[in-house]
């Protein structure tokens, strides 16, 4: 299962990557803004899950989500953002987001929200590899 992390903060992407690696995700790609994310959505293999920041240069998370949903209703998209006002969440839900994580978050919150989202859409979480 491939995950695409979209955030203009490289350090935030590193933190998310570490949290996801811990729970067994190994195929993780990154994008620094919405334009880069859309380019990666056209690549192969296509991401199964997109974790998407809202406030980014060039193309923000909401615009990216709307672009994705023009052609793709299957890919799981989870917003991970400081934008926590109800009006923003409603905008994202209307645009087709699958779940919503408010920054700041702990690794456990990210992991639990992802597990909850995958369960909701009938996908299985990866099994962590043990050495």
């Amino acid at each position: 299962m491939k995950v695409l992390l979209v955030d203009d903060s490289k350090v935030m992407r590193q933190i998310q990557r570490r949290s996801l690696t811990t729970i067994g995700f190994s195929d993780i790609a990154e994008a620094g803004d919405g334009i880069e994310a859309l380019q990666q959505m056209n690549g192969q293999p296509k991401p199964d899950i997109v974790i998407l920041d809202w406030n980014m240069p060039r193309l923000d998370g909401l615009g990216t989500l709307r672009k994705i949903r023009e052609t793709d209703t299957k890919t799981v998209v989870v917003m991970c953002t400081t934008e926590s006002e109800k009006v923003r969440v409603i905008e994202a839900v209307k645009a087709g987001v699958n779940n919503y994580i408010v920054k700041p978050f702990t690794p456990t919150v990210l992991q639990d929200k992802l597990a909850e989202t995958l369960q909701r859409v009938g996908l299985a979480m990866p099994v962590p590899q043990t050495v």
């Binding site: 490289k10 350090v11 570490r18 406030n55 240069p57 953002t81 400081t82 926590s84 920054k103």
Partner: protein
């Protein structure tokens, strides 16, 4: 002179405490809040975010270098050279989270935040927007001292 409601100041204090507790695993305590009408002399590195919409102004989160390096280590899980671009990136992201959380707590106002700018340099100054004082909130945590400066003017007449 523009004033600022206590609940707006509390929104920024609560946001900083939330961000530092969740992302840096440390509790934040406060010093005495002061007002500066012209500018703030910041510490060594500052994250700055503009506010627009129903409120206009900016938020400055400023760190002495030692605190900033300790904060980076707590945030990213590794040490870093101050000249590494990831260092500035992390300070910007912490500022973004504080500003974003605070604006969500300010009821009845629709506020947008810009992308963070980070400035590094000893004793740099940040000017307040015209006729908007900086509310200066000294903070302390186990990583060291830092400060939050908020200059904030309601465009709805609801200061």
């Amino acid at each position: 002179m523009v004033t600022m409601k206590v609940e707006y100041i509390n929104a920024f204090i609560g946001a900083a405490q939330n961000v530092f507790s969740s992302m840096l695993n440390t509790e934040v305590t406060l010093g005495r809040v002061t007002v500066n009408t012209s500018h703030v002399t910041a510490h060594d590195i500052s994250g700055i975010i503009g506010l627009s919409g129903d409120a206009v102004g900016c938020v400055v989160v400023s760190f002495p270098m030692d605190t900033a390096l300790a904060a980076y280590k707590a945030f990213a899980g590794e040490e870093i050279d101050p000249m590494d671009p990831n260092f500035l990136d992390a300070i910007g992201e912490l500022t973004n989270m504080i500003a974003g959380n605070a604006k969500a707590e300010i009821v009845g106002m629709s506020i947008s935040i810009g992308l963070p700018t980070v400035i590094m340099g000893k004793q740099h100054c940040v000017n307040a927007p015209q006729n908007v004082p900086f509310i200066c909130i000294p903070c302390h945590c186990k990583l060291g001292n830092f400060s939050i400066e908020v200059a904030f003017r309601s465009e709805t007449g609801n200061n």
